[in-house]
Amino acid sequence: MPNPQSPVASDQSRLVAASLRRVPLCGYRKPAPGIHPPHLHPDYLASLKRAPAQPLVPIPQTLSEITGPCFQPHHLRIGADLTGQGKGAPLGQKMLLTGRVLDEDGKPVRHTLVEIWQANAAGRYRHLVDQHAAPIDPNFVGKGQLLTDDEGRYQFKTIKPGAYPWRNHPNAWRPPHIHFSLFGPAFSTRLVTQMYFPGDPLLPFDPIFNGIRDEAARQRLIAQFDWQTTVPEEALGFRFDIVLRGRLETPMENRP
């Protein structure tokens, strides 16, 4: 160990301090084209009147974009067990949904807020706007919150949601899905997405899923069945890892 009082050590700590100051100026990598869906996606009718017509204006990432909301355990209001929010057990196929939140370099995104919401097993949301003629389950609210652990891991206990009809096109059905909201470390890494199920016959017909141009990116939104987390006599295990934008290694100055 160098003597902390020695001039060498203090030079080193100055260097460390200087490099730490540079780190915050590193922005986040821009997503490759085709991964995020375009705002205007005519197969998804609701996009027609809501998508901007003008191109987005590129701007550099400043402190405003490389910082973002931080949530602490005391901010959370609900738990991660969606099967325990009523007086009894909800109907449906119980599942244990586990995964990790990582950045593009494979590093865990620690202590970040994950929020989910979903329809019940019959494909009905507990929401006034949902008029689908399927039953409300009095024992299922369909929402969960947690912070990822030190390894970026998360785990929700829930039931598999049902498919439900919508009015985008004749005989339109949404494939079963769970909505995910993540913040990551910065305003730049904010993400709202949906998780789908493997082998779902509705996926090829869903304009929301197929708004993603990149085939591999579509596949990444499909959870995997997992024996390791399947609980005997109780719940099927599904794995769903979520990768957020990673950090550039050089500062973003003057790079809109």
Partner: protein, 197 residues
Amino acid sequence: MRKAPAAAELLGIAASQTVGPFFQIGFEDLYQTDLTVPGLAGTVITISGKILDADQLPVPDALVEIWQANSFGKYAHPDDYQDKPLDPEFTGFGRCPTNAEGAFQFRTVKPGAVASSSGAPQAPHINVSIFMRGLLDRLVTRIYFSDDERNSADEVLNLVDPARRSTLLARPDALYPGTYRWDAILQGAQETVFFDF
């Protein structure tokens, strides 16, 4: 410094999908329309506005999230290296759904100036994400304050076509002191400027 990994070595990121019409279920527990906390420094303001679609009709099912610095221009985030005071308990995060009239409102403090990437101060601004049914990816923009003289030197505002800059300016409401009005127009004439970064 380690060489940047080739693109092939990077993990593929998760794609965005729409928030859909039922986000209230998942988000209502963390709705936050009043960002102020006891003892907060700075000038309390209200930002009030509407989200309007291509036909200028209100969007009743949008979600507006804001992220801002405190009145000293400091973000409550470990990567904000600026030597400026934090306000305990002020998170800088707000989240508000639009109502049947497409309207949203936040009560907060006017943010201070934050350093730009070149180190010059940016004009005070609030960062905005807009989510809604119909949008497969969020829209991102900024709210600046029309009565702030620092706007003219702001590096981001100066990247915007001068004819469109006014879409980013919240204006003081003549009837309600301390209230600023800012509408987001998603498409068409007076379309709001949205950013990519």
